[in-house]
Symmetry: C2
Subunit: 217 residues, 2 copies
DNA sequence: GTCTATAAATAGATAGAC
DNA sequence: GTCTATCTATTTATAGAC
């Protein structure tokens, strides 16, 4: 007598969570390369080895999928950065780790820098409130580090937004411009393609600490 | 006897150059707001008070129009910046003017910062060789200023790409984030919306010169 | 959960009248 | 030079079979 399977049907369930993840990864790459409007749900599905309809099954819409990717990115930045602010390190070391945090996340997630640049250009049109809260967390973390340094007479006060801009913009620019820099090098500009990540991070750390430690008139 | 007009027909020629200019301006705004893929030639034409077909008459295609806007932007940056490098000012003043150049152009052309950010994200996909040449000119101008300062024992040598990134990325970020900063301020983050252009420029000038003049260990 | 087929809207681009 | 009308391709999204 053949045993009839009862309960919920399992059929060819390849594991829903894994499918979702494959779609998410394919979408991140597509949005990074072409932007929200330029991305095609057909291409995302094909690149994930799945069908377009799955996107609407696992996510609500193209826009919802995009918002989830944006949220994930700022969450990742925010989580790492607030961990840095809460550690027991000295303020100077926290600044070094703050800089490194963006480089680490950008290196681990190559789609972060292009998506970040596009979202800036878009004026934050796709940011939901949770994401704005994560951005606020990032800035508050830096503010806390600076305040601590000032209180301990190790830093002089500088507007956190200016400090933040001086860190994130150059670091993410480095990651996002690998292709352009290679092309520039081919047209004769030197020392633009060969710079490595450690150099950039060290440079930004040095400049930021020089600023905060008052070594700049 | 009615005089018959001879020669080339003038008809309702509203002035071709002005029409072209209107389309160009409308396209710049549309591309800045929505990106290349997100922009619609219908909207561009409507916003210019003209018909879609005029875009294909005055420009070759949507892509050609976009390339012309990109080229115009980097030409404007390049022209101003190479003028700075060629002046008779001291190296330190040239650095100050180099920083100011980007702020001046960004303030005069509000579509520059978003388009610059998008093009970075795109990996330079729409850059023709003339535009890459303009980008190279910008970097060569900064290199010349730094080299002059080093030769005159006023600067210590620093990789021009790192200097450039530390200038352009924060300055353009400031202009591109006006909307997001206002939203952040509404959610409780302080001192992000109220910063004015002069403050940002002065800050970046100070940091860059601190770096170049060796006041940072 | 995953697929095929298709609806419905919108895109870029061109032909041809004026 | 400027317009209307239209072609064709592509898009997001959904219905329904399995």
């Amino acid at each position: 007598m053949k045993r009839i399977r009862s309960g919920r049907p399992r059929a060819r369930v390849r594991d829903a969570a894994a499918t979702r993840q494959r779609l998410f990864a394919a979408a991140a790459a597509e949005f990074a390369a072409r932007g929200f409007a330029g991305a095609s749900v057909d291409r995302i599905a094909a690149h994930a080895g799945l069908n377009k309809a799955m996107i609407y099954y696992h996510f609500k819409s193209k826009a919802a999928l995009y918002r989830e990717i944006i949220r994930d990115m700022f969450e990742a930045f925010g989580r790492r950065v607030s961990g840095v602010a809460a550690s027991a390190a000295t303020p100077a070391d926290k600044i070094r780790e703050y800089v490194d945090a963006f480089a680490i996340e950008a290196a681990a997630h190559p789609h972060f820098p292009p998506i970040w640049f596009r979202e800036v250009a878009e004026g934050g049109a796709h940011l939901d409130d949770a994401t704005v809260a994560d951005m606020a967390l990032i800035l508050r973390s830096l503010t806390a580090i600076i305040d601590e340094g000032v209180e301990k007479k190790q830093f002089s006060p500088v507007n956190p937004l200016l400090v933040h801009a001086g860190i994130v913009a150059p670091v993410l620019l480095y990651f996002a411009t690998a292709g352009i820099r290679a092309r520039l090098e081919r047209t004769g500009v030197r020392r633009v393609a060969g710079i490595d990540r450690a150099q950039v991070v060290a440079h930004v750390q040095r400049v930021t600490l020089g600023l905060l430690e008052g070594r700049i008139a």
